[in-house]
Symmetry: D2
Subunit: 421 residues, 4 copies
């Protein structure tokens, strides 16, 4: 069979073919020369599987979509505190090209507006604008798992008219956020913006963020998980300029748009998505891109705030196996995070003190995160303190190295028969 | 055993006992009379289990924490579109008492600043300020599963000095966002703010939001899931005033603070949390409240942007059971949402056309959401079109009513033996 | 003969009869009911002579033209410093209904915007809104030398929709600029704005300002000269809202407009002018009013910055009268202020030391101000110290009581013959 | 005798010697190296007489005091309309270095803030920044009647740190107010600001403005009177940055300050004044400069809004000379402008129709402006139409060429005897 995911993406692309509203960006002369009807989408899962439909292999310039990635790189190179000294993280509600500096500190309001993005670019290590731009190009290439290049034509078209960015850079120099030559920094930033990508490349880069900073195919860690969390949070509040609130309520995933028509979205722990379609709405976001994300969010339940309360029954009612009245079995299932662990502990706390053997059946648990693991082990410790011997059914060692912390280590078994044996 | 969750909360409360920075709100005379050292926390799970530590039964006024709940009620009563006509959802980056009206429409920037909250209050059905306030009190009481009352002392103290809110209300009247008497509306809004709650009550109300709008104990649906999504999204970008970006990056959960020292946070699908401690920082947020949430977020991994990529192995390698070479078994586990279903479909699409029997083993799947269910059934349909008979192992009917959509219904079995039999 | 001044005004009115652009103010329902074609003008000289053309006897409400007069009264009652504590004097460049409070102090930017005008109104002594409004009505009546009344119909129409002013008043209450009930203050302010006037009344009030605060007909001092200077200065920079700069460059006289179509201008020391025509431009100023003032300023050379360098020859070359070689006559003429006195002193300093008699011929001087008088007397003192006897020709005693300050008093004579005699 | 004007200036300088508050500008490194105690003042009358006290011959850089002069030159070169298309004239209430562009047009709010001054500089004809700067230097030199030069040290110090001005210039380039290379324009503007002047030079330049655009010593017309009126009006509302309103109310004359400590004021038709003292207040204005002007304004009655109502008695009661009952004499005196002419016409209109001879005695009139002249002649025409023969006593031909406009020319006589003869 052919997977319906690709078919679904194609169907969504087709359904928006007649959407011709919006206008091309005109302030970068070369961008205006693009075919306005181009439309491509790509989705890459956190295990690296890549889907695409439409013009998903067409190259365009990354433009503002570069902002979150360079911000992430700046944090990796200098640490979050150093970056926060230069760039705040508050949503500004402003258009992308507003200067929006904080009154007291002069810091740009956030790294998603041009002022903040230029400041982030300037933080990248490098002895010259060219070196910095090359460092960034190399970084993006590794995020995309493909060698990306500069679009020299767009770069040349843009650098000649980058008056506003130069104004912003000089203002940042005035307040001390920038320390080098503003013209050189804008030059490097314009190079960053002119890196050529396809929707598929962008979706791959987005998937690296969705995957907590690990490139899905190579497995290489590109960004620290805390950095990714920072980047995604900022995208959530500020990635869509003055439509950020509308986007977060309606679509509900961290996203970033670019003036060349690109638009990425990241669902943490799940997928990276990228669209390309050059016509822009009044906020500077791709018209078809926004509509496609609306459709995806609705169809696929991607909204971050979508509660999933149905998944709670992680604890099966405890029971006493036939012929083993001195044994009480508690069975868990699914993935154990804080909230599931809390439920498990509650079940454990219902066990009266005594010497009954407690069997914790984890064979249907497929994952625990750190918090879940620590909480379950604390339950083990407490049950043991209450007098209970503990046995684990954990054929796949999801609770590897089950030390309760006070030296007590329960026995581990492959199945109930073994645990009772 | 005693569950360590309560112990943990107590430990966190104790660890912050020496935190005495911040100042009491002074613009409401009565609030300044509170004991500044009070400190309580409560956490309520989406199945209604309630934890508490410190002064979690002390009553204080809800103040601005009422904003998201009344906003939600307004959406329930009038629909989202009607509410959006009056109140935008863009983060303003402003302090809570800034007027922050949109230049063109006069709409308040969002419902978390006073202007938007007053506009939301005015939307509540009711023939008079008292009726409206009573409707709201009743609604909150049902969210909290406890009869809440007005704090008349605070109300009287506040209504006499509510000059700024009256200014805001008259400005809203000027631009047509309000249509009734501004003084009456501010009176009702002040009543709303004076509803008495404890940290435990607030955590319960928050848990109703975390639970997708269903009150955890009564099971009563109080808000539509889409409304909850809207409310939580707005809290995420605008709930913490001009510290919203800092909060979202650092803590990473939708939250709302009140000037009386309350602070709630919601982790969708998991828990509602509430803190009470009256000393406020420069943004008007409870100092200890913010620190407690920082600790909780870090300890418990609550950040919304926390990717959990470890939980992906939802599909076990397919295998052919001994003695059944014509049968291919695909085993799934955990919870099936879009991203897991995508993985399943990929596995399915690796099955070549032919007449092999395909057994889908779901006995370790504990939940599917709508999207996951539809995607798995589409896979069933396509595999069947390729010529394969399909058998399901689904002892607990997690894929209830497994109609592939084209009339084909696979057989359902309790275990592998039955499926092969 | 008939004076051509009235004819001239009539001609200007006629020339603008076809000007129908602009729109009626619509936010005060009753104002919209006025005949939009009404057009009147009046000019009153500082000696009380009144000219009029067109609908100069038609009554309309004073509206914002009340602002400078009430501001002046507030200064009279409390002193400038007390008023400056509540209301700044900086041009805001804002529209009339902007709140425009200073960030740090909360003071309205100036008394010509509504916020400042409401604050000025609230400063007027009075135990109630009605008493305050009555005090103001009486004050205006004396400025106009005619009993003015409240237009109850407009008042009632306006007070019901004064939402923005109430918003402003509550905001002022919040920051402590107002201390009384904001609603009562806006009520009183609305009464102030509803005082009925004609163009002729307004021109008379304006003439009182032009006359340094002395009502031209009764001779009653209504405002201190320093107060008038303050009022006129503020009108110059802020009287025409966000068109203030355009007005000052083009017309060049302190002015104030009102939403009912009134517009006054004051040429210090010369005339007060008032126009009435209800259609307003985008800044809220009467269209015909502005055009009429443009014409008057151009035709009559009224611009404050109009240098008049031709009037400088105040000193006639000194000469020695026939038969009196020991006598040197210095003849002055015109009005002696600082700049003319400087010229006189220069002439005096050219007189070499010695015992020559110096005759200062003032018979063609018609006025000296304080500075001029002091400077001329200082010259007398110094010439006398140099050894010269001094004689004055001053038949009309323009230099009354010519004490040089050191005890020396020159002799005074009716004409040259007497001085030489 | 020695004129007391110089003594007075010296006394004022001495009285402020102990004023040491304020701080040196530090953003231009070289400026900070100046002796902070320097203090000089100069005053130049419109007939070119120059006074000075203190360090009035010390050279410093003109800085922002160049703004009004270059604005004037731009108007001369391109006409007012063309300049208004690029630079508005509204007071901004902002600090000098705020960008303050109009939202719709992008025009700087006025030519006294840096944005407007840079735009005005860019309008000066010239093929390169150096040519433009040289044109300006030459123009200023002619205004000052002395060859001025560039201070290369300050220029070099300033051009290296002119980040904010470069930011502003790029922003102006973005909105199309500038069309050339922003860096070059800022370079030229910085050269303009680095022109070296003394207080005496500046007072001379100011006197040229006071004299309606005619350099007082050479008599050369440097600026059109209408241009001067425009420049002075803009200085009045915007010359003192965010203290403009305070300045106009307190001091009451058009003024401009510079960061090097200079400060000029212009009293139209009277004098130009300049002060130099480097310590600046929070608005960027020279502390001693402001205090000196306060003293001068108070002592010398220089306030523009100072009404001088005492000077009105321009018409002496008409009389019939002994033995000439058929003759009526009207005697005028002083300077005849609109307001005096109005009074004369009123007197004339009191003359009944008939054939009485009317003698207009102008021998004590020392000046008429255009308006006064036209009005008096119109009175002559009308009296003649009423049947009166008219005779003028005008020994000095102040009413030269007294044609009534309808062909009638009254006879002119040296004195009353001649007129009656």
């Amino acid at each position: 069979m052919r997977t319906p995911v690709a078919d679904y993406l194609q169907e969504v692309v087709d359904s928006l073919a007649d959407e011709h509203s919006g206008v091309m960006a005109d302030y970068i002369p070369e961008l205006a020369a693009t075919d306005p009807n181009q439309f491509g989408v790509s989705m890459v899962t956190i295990d690296g599987c890549s889907y695409g439909a439409g013009d998903c292999e067409t190259e365009f310039t990354i433009q503002s979509i570069s902002k979150p990635f360079t911000y992430g790189l700046a944090i990796e190179q200098h640490g979050l505190d150093a970056v926060l000294e230069k760039i705040d993280v508050e949503p500004s509600g402003d258009a992308f090209n507003e200067i929006s500096l904080e009154e007291e500190t002069g810091r740009p309001r956030n790294p998603m507006i041009n002022a903040g993005a230029i400041a982030a670019h300037a933080l990248i290590d490098g002895s010259s604008p060219d070196v910095r731009a090359e460092t960034i190009r190399t970084f993006y290439s590794r995020l995309a798992n493909r060698e990306l290049g500069f679009d020299e034509v767009v770069y040349n078209s843009e650098v000649g008219t980058a008056f506003r960015n130069k104004a912003i850079a000089y203002m940042l120099r005035t307040v001390g956020v920038l320390e080098d030559d503003p013209i050189g920094i804008v030059d490097g930033y314009t190079r960053q913006c002119s890196i050529g990508v396809t929707a598929r490349n962008l979706a791959h880069m987005a998937a690296t963020l969705a995957n907590g900073g690990v490139e899905p195919v190579t497995g290489e860690r590109m960004l620290d998980p805390a950095t990714v969390r920072q980047v995604l949070s900022v995208m959530a509040t500020s990635g869509m300029y003055d439509a950020a609130g509308d986007w977060l309520t309606t679509i509900g995933i961290p996203a970033k748009s670019g003036v060349a028509g690109g638009l990425i979205g990241i669902l943490p722990g799940q997928v990276g998505i990228a669209v390309f379609s050059p016509r822009l709405d009044g906020h500077g976001n791709s018209v078809r891109g926004v509509k496609l994300f609306e459709r995806l969010s609705r169809d696929m339940g991607l909204h971050l705030m979508e509660a999933a309360p149905a998944s709670r029954s992680v604890v099966r009612q405890g029971y006493r196996p036939d012929g083993h009245r001195e044994v009480q079995v508690l069975e868990f299932l699914g993935e154990i995070r804080f909230v599931e662990a809390e439920s498990i502990l509650r079940q454990m706390s219902a066990v009266p003190e005594g010497s009954d053997v407690i069997v914790l059946d984890l064979h249907r648990v497929h994952a625990l995160n750190d918090v879940g693991r620590r909480m379950v082990l604390e339950g083990v410790r407490r049950l043991h303190l209450d007098g209970h011997p503990i046995r684990l059914i954990d054929p796949e060692s999801v609770l590897a190295d089950p030390d309760a912390g006070d030296g007590y280590v329960p026995s581990v078994h492959a199945d109930l028969a073994a645990a009772l044996g």
